[in-house]
């Protein structure tokens, strides 16, 4: 492998690594926003103030994903710090 090809490969790897990290961060941010969206629309189920019932109910059939997220979120709701640490690779 020539020196040029080696440098090119190095930068390509670096780009991929940064791209991967950026996607990971963006996905985490997006999931957080989806969780907030889920809470704002489905929060009434767990006693939180949320959108007026008619608005929330009409949205419900079109948001099975958010509904699933909210149910899954209940598993991690008790331990938000551990989720943050695991995302930041802190052990």
């Amino acid at each position: 492998m020539s020196l040029f090809a080696g440098i090119k490969k190095f930068f390509k790897g670096l780009d991929q690594q940064h791209r991967h990290k950026a996607i990971e961060d963006l996905e985490w941010e997006m999931h957080e926003l989806q969780h907030i969206f889920g809470l704002l629309t489905l929060g009434y189920m767990v006693g939180l103030p949320s959108a007026p019932l008619p608005v929330a109910w009409e949205l419900l059939p079109d948001m099975p994903r958010e509904f699933a997220i909210m149910l899954a979120r209940l598993d991690t709701a008790q331990n938000p710090l551990s989720e943050q640490f695991s995302r930041l690779d802190v052990s």
Binding site: R19, A22, I23, L26, E27, E29, M30, L33, Q34, I36, F37, L40, T41, Y44, M45, A51, P52, L53, P54, V55, W57, E58, L59, L60, P61, D62, M63, P64, E66, F67
Partner: protein
């Protein structure tokens, strides 16, 4: 909404001030002057049937030429709404076998907002189908009436926030898609479509409620402090909601004061017509 948009009149005020009687008299006043009128009672404690001395129900009953009346059953509209929502919920979440749907719907039945939204559906139905010049509504107790009237603004406020949040989610999705695949292709967002659909419908309702050329709020009170204080609160709330077509009307007046000198036992078409004729100048001045 229908091509012919009715003028809407909401009769509100403290219990016992004469909302039903005045709404019935106003309906007859308009009908006798050549307008088509539908008078609807939204009050669960109906007494329009007693005033007109006719049995009324969910379907409009002709009272005199050009005038029909209906007694809306809020319970029935709530029940139908909950059944429809339950059907949609079950269809969308059939896989959630462990989720206790029955329990969920038992709780929802008594959730705040259900009764007001049930009335909204009844209102939509009357507004779209009645095809009359005037739609008069004898409103339920103040708390429920205000919840009903606040629903469009409140829903629009929430939908606006949800739209903004959804837009942010979509932007993140676009960025992820571009980083991962080098393109911006996006899946169809059904939630956003739903938000837009709902926004359009709530805007239509809000436009009806806030158009003072089409819709007026008649706040009925008696010449005593309590009903006037309650109407003061109703007026403030309506103004907060951006509604301007508010008329405060005093009923059961005496000594030539401005308002309706309504007497007890005013029921039956003949007595009502005689009353309107006798107080024609008051009706001409106060009824729009």
């Amino acid at each position: 909404m229908s091509a012919v948009l009715p003028h809407v009149r909401f009769f509100m005020g403290k219990g016992g001030v004469g909302k039903s009687t005045l709404s019935a008299l106003t309906a007859l006043y308009h009908a006798d002057r050549g307008h088509t009128v539908l008078l609807a009672s939204f009050d669960p404690a109906h007494n329009l049937g007693d005033i007109f001395q006719q049995k009324l129900g969910e379907r409009p009953v002709p009272i005199v030429e050009r005038l029909s009346a209906v007694e809306v059953d809020p319970e029935k509209w709530s029940r139908e709404y909950l059944q429809e929502a339950e059907r949609q919920f079950r269809a969308a979440y059939a896989y959630l076998t462990t989720f206790s749907l029955e329990q969920h719907f038992k709780v929802i039945r008594h959730a705040p907002g259900v009764e007001a939204y049930a009335l909204m559906r009844a209102f939509d139905d009357l507004y779209r189908k009645s095809n009359v010049d005037f739609l008069l509504l004898d409103m339920p107790p103040t708390a429920l009436s205000l919840s009903f009237l606040a629903l469009p603004r409140l829903s629009l406020l929430w939908l606006e926030q949800l739209h903004a949040l959804r837009t942010e989610i979509q932007q993140k999705q676009k960025m992820i898609s571009r980083l991962r695949l080098g393109r911006r292709e996006m899946e169809r967002d059904r939630v956003m479509e739903n938000i837009n659909r709902q926004t359009e419908r709530w805007r239509e309702r809000d436009a009806v409620f806030s158009n003072n050329a089409q819709t007026r709020y008649l706040l009925i009170e008696n010449p005593e402090a309590l009903s006037a204080l309650e109407n003061g609160r109703i007026e403030s709330r309506l103004k907060e909601l951006g509604f301007s077509g508010i008329d405060r009307v005093v009923n059961k007046t005496g000594n030539g004061k401005s308002g309706f000198p309504l007497v007890a036992g005013l029921y039956g078409i003949n007595k009502m017509r005689a009353y309107i004729d006798h107080h024609k100048s008051v009706f001409d001045a106060l009824i729009r």
